[in-house]
């Protein structure tokens, strides 16, 4: 996973609360076989509306999503995070996130920062004053800045540390590679092995 320190890019406003993961990506796309290629599925129902913010060329290439309260509630589908990442988002700021969504985001290198409702309003106002403006989300300082507006955000220490270090769960586990190898060294010979393939006698 890439290290995350400062996310800089166009900020897209999503002025809706209670955006559930069914809205972020509908169930019909869960049959796909890849973890990538979900960008066209993001907010699938809403983006059929030409007026929807995702269709506004001013925000093309946005990397920071500024969303209303309770973003990512509902179904646990990890596809919701994959779709946001695929579309190009590296950070989402909201006054509150769905628990599972927040956990999934941390696994996939998506910075999910919690801001106050008042700060949400000032960030949205800053975008409105200058649509297409860049945001700068600083994970070291735990602040987000749009134009002159600078607000603090919250993120749990463990997730922040992993993001700063660029560690996904796998990367983290591989720090214990030596212990894993040592464990494998004393693993008993009777334990299951799928290779080489063996057949029942007579096959």
């Amino acid at each position: 996973m890439e290290k995350v320190t400062v996310v800089q890019g166009i900020a897209m406003p999503l002025e809706r609360a209670n955006v559930d993961t069914d809205q972020i990506i509908p169930a019909v796309f869960l049959k796909r076989v890849t973890k990538t290629g979900f960008d066209d599925a993001l907010f699938y129902a809403w983006r059929q509306d030409p007026e929807f913010v995702l269709n506004n060329p001013v925000y093309k290439g946005a990397r920071v999503l500024i969303a209303g309260q309770d973003f990512g509630i509902g179904s646990s589908r990890e596809h919701a995070v994959w779709a946001l990442r695929d579309f190009g988002f590296d950070a989402v700021l909201s006054p509150r996130f769905g628990d599972i969504f927040r956990g999934n985001a941390g696994k996939q290198g998506l910075l999910a920062g919690e801001i106050s409702e008042a700060d949400l309003e000032s960030l949205l106002a800053a975008i409105k004053a200058q649509p297409g403006v860049e945001a700068s989300v600083d994970l070291v300082a735990k602040t987000a800045r749009i134009g002159e507006v600078i607000v603090p955000f919250q993120i749990d220490d463990y997730t922040r540390w992993r993001l700063l270090e660029g560690l996904d769960d796998i990367g983290l586990t591989l720090r214990n590679e030596a212990q894993i190898t040592e464990f494998e060294g004393r693993r008993e010979s009777w334990r299951p092995r799928t290779l080489p393939e063996q057949h029942v006698t007579g096959e």
Binding site: K31, R32, V33, T34, K35, T36, S76, E78, W82, N104, K107, D168, D169, I170, L172, T173, L174, N176, Q179, I180, F183, E184, R187, E188, S189, W190, R191, P192, R193, T194, L195, E197, Q198, H199, V200, E203
Partner: protein
């Protein structure tokens, strides 16, 4: 053996856990647990392999990994290309991934193909004292061998492929003690349906369940797998049975079971796994096997079940408001009225299959009832063996012919109508007696209605066309002489204590 427990008496689950500890988590961080066996199928693995590819990581232990095709596979015309394009793509993706990453695959048409939870045990790969994971919640099945079988999500599948470990927080332990002797016609499926009805679909949350007691000991491995399989329906992370001679007899001689000195060393270790006499469980539940009757679900979650001789409960009599609302919704969806005698309910279909009940003994039990009989008019009966090998074994015993003579369909192996990801589905409004594990709304097809039952009840129901127990049959039940008089009381179980 690992002696890090300092003489503290431990449960079976704790012993298996301790012996797979790679790194002990500090200050609330998870433990890092080694995984002995990783089972893979086409639905939950594509994104995991994709993740490896993106990160440039190999599969750490292809020799501890095995894949098969089950969820999407057709059960008819398996030599033809799969008609559904999405399913075909998912299967082809698994094939490509296994080839690229060096993972052993048993594809459709292979002799070892089948439902992933049938294939592992049948190859002798599932062993006592091991950790088994799969991107599928019914991985709990493997606990029947005294293994810890844990269902995982796609990110975790990738994690295991890359590291052969999982970061896990320790579970609590719950003993489910079933004492007594099952009456003829009552099976493992009835035990587990009764357990779930008793503790509820969330009752096992956070726990590893250990099934104990004389009734569990007397079960075959196939029966124990049926029980452990449905642990997840009680919300548990895993279900286990301590290994014993029944386990060893099942395993010995299987393709991947240990041989020679390895076998002796393994058995010596396996004999140490049973829960210590003075070990303490976090919770305990008791069930009296003597009193059990064939069980059936009436609602839309596996906890909504009663004895088959009973009536559909009245939601108004349920005190918990959430459960009452859920029962009301369920009866509406199932289109049955409170107070209906379960035995008056007609079915349109009978599904005999799924990782809960598709092993050879399940098919034998089903065949023993239908032999020489004809299915009820207008009832569609589908028999789907759990694996290609089970199918072959059954055919060698003539079970296929019994099934066909009965008027039922004899299919190729796979998940089939358990979840209807392939063409085997219920039509909207159709009602089915099913030996599978989930009666959720639409599980077997949009608008389909599912009653979970044992293979014996499925067979009796297929004969009569209404939900029926083998006790209701005038012929065809091998042990008719032993058939009990019609019980007067519905099975009432001894009160359990849940901490």
């Amino acid at each position: 053996m690992n002696d890090s427990f300092n003489g503290k008496p431990r449960t079976l689950a704790e012993k298996v856990w301790d012996d797979h500890l790679v790194v002990k988590g500090e200050e609330g961080n998870p433990d890092l647990i080694y995984i002995d066996l990783h089972l893979v199928h086409e639905v939950t693995s594509p994104q995991a392999f994709d993740g490896l590819r993106l990160a440039g990581r190999p599969v750490r232990r292809p020799d501890l990994t095995i894949a098969t095709e089950d969820h999407n596979t057709p059960t008819l015309a398996i030599d033809k290309p799969i008609a559904d394009l999405t399913s075909r793509t998912q299967i082809q993706t698994l094939r490509n991934n296994c080839a690229e990453f060096g993972v052993r695959l048993h594809p459709l048409g292979d002799i070892e193909q089948g439902i992933v939870h049938v294939v592992g045990p049948q190859l002798g790969l599932t062993m006592p004292g091991t950790t088994v994971v799969c991107g599928d919640s019914h991985t709990s099945t493997h606990g029947a061998f005294g293994a810890m079988g844990i269902g995982i999500g796609t990110s975790e599948v990738e994690h295991v492929l890359a590291t052969q470990t999982l970061p896990l927080k320790p579970f609590k332990t719950m003993a489910i003690t079933v004492e007594g002797t099952l009456r003829p016609g009552v099976t493992a499926k009835d035990i587990i349906l009764a357990v779930i009805a008793k503790i509820g679909t969330g009752g096992g949350q956070g726990y590893v369940l250990e099934y104990r007691g004389s009734a569990i000991r007397s079960l075959s491995m196939d029966g124990r797998m049926t029980i452990c399989n449905m642990s997840i329906e009680a919300g548990a992370r895993a279900g286990m049975v301590a290994p014993d001679q029944v386990t060893y007899d099942y395993l010995e001689g299987r393709a991947h079971a240990p041989k020679g000195a390895d076998w002796d060393a393994a058995v010596e270790y396996w004999n140490t796994l049973a829960t210590d006499d003075d070990a303490v469980f976090d919770a305990e539940v008791f069930l009296d096997a003597d009193e059990l009757e064939p069980f059936v679900t009436w609602g839309t979650n596996p906890g909504q079940g009663v004895s088959l001789s009973d009536r559909v409960p009245d939601p108004a009599a349920i005190s918990d408001p959430n459960e009452r609302a859920s029962a009301e919704r369920a009866l509406e969806y199932m289109d049955i009225a409170a107070g209906t005698a379960l035995k008056d309910i007609h079915v349109d279909a009978v599904f005999m299959g799924s990782c809960t009940n598709s092993r050879i003994e399940d098919l034998r039990a089903f065949a023993s009832i239908i032999k020489g009989q004809k299915k009820a008019d207008g009832v569609r009966v589908m028999v789907v063996p759990g694996s290609a090998r089970v199918r072959i074994e059954a055919e060698a015993e003539g079970i296929d012919q019994i099934v066909k003579d009965f008027g039922a369909e004899w299919r190729f192996a796979g998940c089939s109508m358990c979840l209807g990801m392939n063409p085997d589905q219920l039509a909207p409004g159709e009602r089915c007696a099913s030996t599978s594990n989930r009666n959720f709304e639409g599980r077997q097809g949009k608008g389909g209605r599912t009653h979970l039952v044992s293979p014996l009840v499925a067979a009796a129901t297929a004969i009569r066309g209404t939900l029926s127990s083998p006790w209701d049959l005038t012929a065809g039940f091998d042990t008719v002489a032993e058939r009990p008089a019609q019980p007067t009381e519905p099975a009432e179980t001894q009160d359990g204590v849940i901490a």
